[in-house]
């Protein structure tokens, strides 16, 4: 391909120099720009810094709007951090990419053979190609899995490889990701973000798409799910839960592929089969794409301390009833020390050397290797042999050798638990670098070390590779800072063709162009979270309105001893809220609880809904934290009410009308009915202070309706009529009972042999009575007994569906 060099050397790249002794992605060994970058550089170089900054900000905004986050392990297990996008992509030619993938496909097959041998024949150990003591010491070699044939015939289905370019320009494998490779979902988001930054048709039309990668894999997973023989069995993703660092990606892939997102407690094992607890009872699961480490999968057979596993899971695998992506125990080949043996194993098992070398590695369990590492310690990264981490993600206590006399003693003392790995200088690639505190517009393009993560999926036609999408970019020239958790960033990888690239879609080949997933697979835990989300949201909204009413009156009277204010204060304290705090802690807790529930079902509602809830939480806990009692607090509550209703509206408008929505609606209806009942009981009693009735109507957001319907001042009768008995007022108890009855009737098992199930039988009498009762019969006692009945209804829902 002709070198389409830009007409003049772009100033933007004037600070960009190839580091001596290190390969570079942008410039070749002779210092010429690689032709594959030309199309991108030419366009990019035309942009003014302000335009560049604006574009990058657009990419960041996309990621924030989409709610992409990365969990950072720190004091707060739920602390989230924005996805650290490095805005300039890495560009590779597709012929080079093909070569890489051919080599990696061979490596994937080799790893499959090694795993199969370690859990089967045991030839590699017996013949001395792998040390028995090394395998036995690996916490990932799971003894209960020995001798088990995987359902579907293969141990490995989804892999990631971390590769880097060495100074001579060749590619090296730095790490194999087998246990639960992460990043493929983030790669899709990287691509979405770079699409906002570089929206032009060119060079985009020459970049290979990422989307097609998942289509075949999804088909493969569905087929594998049935490998055990149960044609109803489904595929699902198993996540450790919201505190995992890549939980966002789990929810993203679950949504993207239309798979259930499950946690260990969602699952149960019955008669050797894995089932998911759903609102319709246990349903069969035939495949788990696990994002949890194998040792945590089964507390009985694998790791007794596990809180996140499913007892009996191993048994379902042993019986061939459950396929796993990837097999439990496959993680044994991830350890650093394996790299020391794979070159030889490749010769033994395939008769060929590795098509793509891995980083040179010496296991210090052997005397000769130990001596070699001691002698060359200064050029090596020395670290734990059994760790799956990349050579550059060295933990404390390890590092570049040559720490004086200590290194030798260390290696002698702990030899079998150490490896030495060649400290390869990785190639550099352009990154937009700003100093801390500097605005984007003042950034410069500088060379930064990088590695690329390549994702591979087994399909019916063999290994298939995601075409780019994910590179890790190091901080400064310091290769050891590559670790994401240590402040590196992530860039898109463009695989560029010389020709225009045809579009691909997620649609599978042949047959129907799409498939509607069957309904009725709402896991009980999701239903539980939705139900409580509904309750928390409603309860929070009530509380905000009450607090607002309080501060409005306080501002008007400026007399905290006013009888109405006292009554209201007491009523609100029944909610556990102390209005002496203008922004009550209890209110923040409540919003936090709603957010926590929502976080657990993020795969089930829209990103806009989530963003609205996050915004509400942030506004209340940060922006409006320091408000003052009276008018200031009242105005703050106006803001919160609006934000709250934004969330409710989004959910109400956008949520698909099926089981999940029903539980959310049930939760809201139940809470609202109970809140109204409490309100009537607390503020509409005979003897309530002057103005209490107006207050009740205001809190119930029914001022206008009341004016229209009755054309008189509020009286106990009008208020009870409107807030309890008016079936057309969404702020009436009867209206909400109707909602509950309708939702309950549409749930599975609502009728049993022609007879209503317990839940409907509990709702119906309440509804009927309110439909026919006289206003004067709505006594305080009746209101109290209704609140008791609502509690019973909540218990019935829990018993029937949520366990």
């Amino acid at each position: 391909m002709p070198a389409a060099r830009p007409a003049k050397e772009p100033d933007l790249f004037s600070d960009y120099h190839r580091i001596p002794g290190v390969a570079d992605e942008l410039f070749d060994a002779e210092g010429r720009m690689r032709p594959v970058w030309a199309r991108f550089v030419e366009r990019f170089a035309r942009l003014a810094p302000a335009e560049i900054a604006a574009r990058f900000e657009r990419g960041n905004q996309y990621l924030r709007d989409a709610g992409v986050f990365y969990r950072q392990y720190s004091g707060d297990p739920l602390a989230e951090r924005d996805w650290p996008l490095s805005h300039i992509p890495v560009v590779l030619h597709d012929s080079e990419w093909e070569q890489i993938c051919t080599g990696l496909a061979e490596r994937a097959d080799l790893l499959e053979q090694v795993v199969a041998d370690l859990y089967g024949e045991g030839r590699l150990v017996r013949e001395g190609h792998l040390p028995a003591s090394l395998i036995a010491a690996s916490p990932q070699w799971l003894r209960p899995m020995v001798g088990i044939e995987p359902a579907g015939g293969h141990h490995l289905h989804f892999l990631a490889f971390e590769i880097g370019r060495s100074p001579d320009g060749s590619w090296l494998v730095l790490g194999d990701r087998v246990q639960a490779p992460s990043g493929a979902g983030f790669a899709l988001e990287n691509r979405m973000a770079t699409g906002r930054i570089f929206p032009e048709r060119f060079p985009r039309a020459y970049i290979h798409r990422l989307a097609g990668f998942f289509a075949d894999f999804r088909a493969q997973m569905k087929a594998l799910a049935k490998a055990g023989g149960d044609m109803e069995a489904r595929a699902a993703i198993l996540t450790p839960g919201p505190s995992n660092d890549t939980y966002y990606e789990h929810t993203y892939i679950a949504r993207y592929l239309g798979l259930m997102l499950l946690e260990g407690e969602d699952l149960l094992v019955e008669n050797g089969e894995l089932k998911v607890r759903t609102i319709e009872g246990p349903q069969p699961i035939g495949l788990l794409w696990r994002r949890i480490d194998a040792a945590f999968a089964d507390p009985l057979e694998l790791h007794s301390g596990s809180q996140i596993g499913t007892p009996g899971l191993v048994e379902t695998v042993r019986r061939g009833n459950l396929a796993m992506v990837n097999a439990l125990g496959a993680g044994v080949v991830e350890m650093r020390a394996m790299m020391a043996f794979l070159p030889r194993i490749s010769e033994v098992l395939t008769g060929k050397p590795l098509a793509l070398s891995n980083i040179a590695t010496w296991w210090c369990g052997g005397a000769a290797e130990r001596d070699y590492v001691k002698k060359h310690a200064g050029e090596m990264l020395i670290g734990p042999a059994l760790s799956p981490d990349l050579p550059y993600d060295i933990e404390t206590g390890a590092g570049l050798g040559g720490q004086g006399g200590d290194t030798e003693a260390w290696i002698d003392a702990e030899g079998p638990s150490l490896v030495g790995q060649e400290a390869v200088a990785l190639s550099t690639t352009p990154a937009w670098v700003t100093e801390p505190g500097q605005p984007l517009v003042e950034g410069r393009i500088l060379p930064r070390p990088m590695t690329i993560r390549v994702f591979a999926a087994r399909t019916a036609e063999g290994w298939r590779f995601m075409k780019g999408g994910y590179a890790r970019i190091g901080k400064a020239g310091d290769a050891s800072a590559l670790g994401m958790q240590k402040g590196g960033s992530v860039a898109d990888v463009w695989i560029v063709s010389d020709r225009l690239v045809p579009k691909v879609t997620l649609t599978p080949k042949g047959e129907a162009s799409f498939q509607r997933l069957a309904h009725g697979v709402l896991p009980s835990r999701s239903a539980d979270n939705l139900f409580w989300l509904g309750r928390y949201v409603e309860r929070t909204e009530d509380a905000i309105r009450l607090i607002r009413a309080y501060h409005l009156r306080l501002a008007a009277t400026d007399n905290p001893a006013d009888p109405l204010l006292r009554r209201l204060r007491a009523f609100i304290s029944g909610y556990g809220i102390d209005v002496a705090q203008p922004m009550p802690e209890a209110l923040l807790d409540r919003i936090g609880a709603a957010r926590a529930c929502a976080a657990k079902v993020r795969d089930r509602f829209s990103t806009d809904g989530w963003a609205a809830l996050v915004d509400l939480h942030r506004t209340a806990s940060v922006t409006l934290r320091d408000i003052e009692a009276g008018d200031d607090a009242a105005r703050a509550m106006f803001v919160l009410v609006r934000k709250m209703t934004a969330f409710s509206g989004l959910v109400q408008d956008n949520m698909y009308r099926f089981q999940g929505w029903r539980f959310l609606s049930l939760g809201r209806a139940l809470e609202r009915a109970d809140g109204l009942t409490a309100l009537l009981h607390g503020l509409a009693e005979p003897g309530a202070p002057e103005g209490a009735l107006d207050l009740a109507v205001e809190v119930a957001d029914s001022v206008i309706t009341h004016r229209r319907r009755y054309a008189v001042e509020t009286s106990r009768d009008t208020v009870v009529d409107l807030l309890a008995l008016d079936a057309d007022n969404p702020r009436s108890i009867l209206f909400q009972l109707r909602v509950m009855r309708e939702q309950a009737a549409a749930l599975p098992g609502a009728e049993d042999n022609g007879r209503l199930a317990a839940l409907s039988r509990a709702i119906l009498p309440l509804e009927t009575r309110l439909s026919v009762v006289d206003i004067e019969d709505i006594t305080a006692k009746r209101l109290l007994s209704m609140r008791g009945a609502f509690g019973d209804i909540s218990d019935l829902i829990t018993d029937a569906y949520l366990r």
């Binding site: 045991g122 028995a132 003591s133 036995a136 003894r143 019955e270 008669n271 009985l300 009996g312």
Partner: protein, 296 residues
């Protein structure tokens, strides 16, 4: 010698579980040259919806019981008749302790009895520096160049001297580090501490659970640990000698008075009952054992 063994274990759960699954290692196996199982009967109440017997990686017999509904108590009654064979006495053919590492490097085996499983830290027996130092000191103090078997016995004796048996001192959750620090514990603690010490010396070592004769033969003292299931240690003394068993609680090789149920790297691999109840709340258990020679 033929023994009749009976075991009863009762669990009461504070809260009702909606489902339950237990994994038991209660049934002994035939062990060539060591023991023959003549009769077994394990009664589980309430009757589980699923029950099956399998072999685990180490060759132990496992019983899995599953209840599809709630249970609030679990009663296990085990009746066994086992013949304990007389192991032949032998001369000490074990390698010098100093030569053991190179001997091990030549063992290319990952089968159930391979020593490699038992060399490094395991879930319940991590590397414990205090125990490592203690074990090294025992060998240094003894002087000379002990064989592996001598080293095993030296450590066993020393631990018995150092530690006090105290049924109340620890619970099943206590780790060996704490038990060693307080220098007291039950047979599980003695076994875990000895395993940690042996591994620190480079000797592969594992955990054995089983039964110990309730009343001693005439003229011998009553042993510790007869009121419940017992635990002791197995250690690898080279390819010729293989595994030998030692009971640090009673300071003797595990011989005629012992019946083996399960072996593994530590308690977790051999635990008599591991349970998973999906419920909150604690549990209470009772445990009774009797092992008597068959009257003839």
């Amino acid at each position: 010698m033929i023994y009749d063994i009976s075991l009863a274990i009762d669990y009461e759960y504070a809260a009702v579980s909606d489902r339950a699954r237990t994994l038991m290692r209660l049934l002994p196996s035939d062990l060539s040259g060591e023991q023959r199982v003549l009769d077994t009967a394990l009664t589980i109440t309430p009757r589980p919806d699923e029950r099956r017997e399998e072999r685990d990686f180490f060759g132990n017999c496992t019983t899995t019981a599953v209840w599809h509904g709630p249970i609030d108590a679990l009663h296990l009654v085990l009746k066994l008749r086992v013949e304990r064979l007389t192991p032949p006495g032998s001369a000490d053919l074990s390698p010098l302790l100093a030569d053991l590492p190179s001997t091990l490097d030549g063992v290319r085996d990952l089968g159930p009895c391979a020593p490699h499983h038992f060399r490094g830290p395991s879930a319940r027996v991590p590397l414990i520096p205090a125990i490592s130092r203690f074990a090294q000191a025992v060998i240094t103090k003894a002087g000379g160049t002990p064989t592996t078997r001598q080293a095993i016995e030296l450590l066993g004796h020393a631990l018995h001297e150092e530690m006090r048996f105290d049924a109340e001192a620890t619970s099943v959750e206590t780790g060996p580090e704490q038990a060693f620090e307080q220098r007291s514990g039950v047979c599980q603690d003695f076994a875990h501490i000895m395993i940690a010490g042996l591994r620190a010396l480079g000797i592969p070592a594992g955990y054995v659970s089983g039964f110990l004769r309730t009343n001693p033969p005439p003229g011998q003292p009553r042993l510790e640990g007869v009121d419940a299931m017992h635990a002791w240690v197995c250690a690898w003394a080279g390819p010729v000698t293989g595994w030998i068993e030692f009971d640090p609680t009673n300071d003797q090789p595990a011989g005629q008075d012992y019946v083996t149920v399960a072996r593994g790297r530590d308690y977790l691999d051999a635990a008599p009952v591991l349970g998973a109840m999906r419920s909150a709340g604690g549990q209470a258990s009772r445990h009774a054992v009797d092992m008597v020679p068959l009257e003839d």
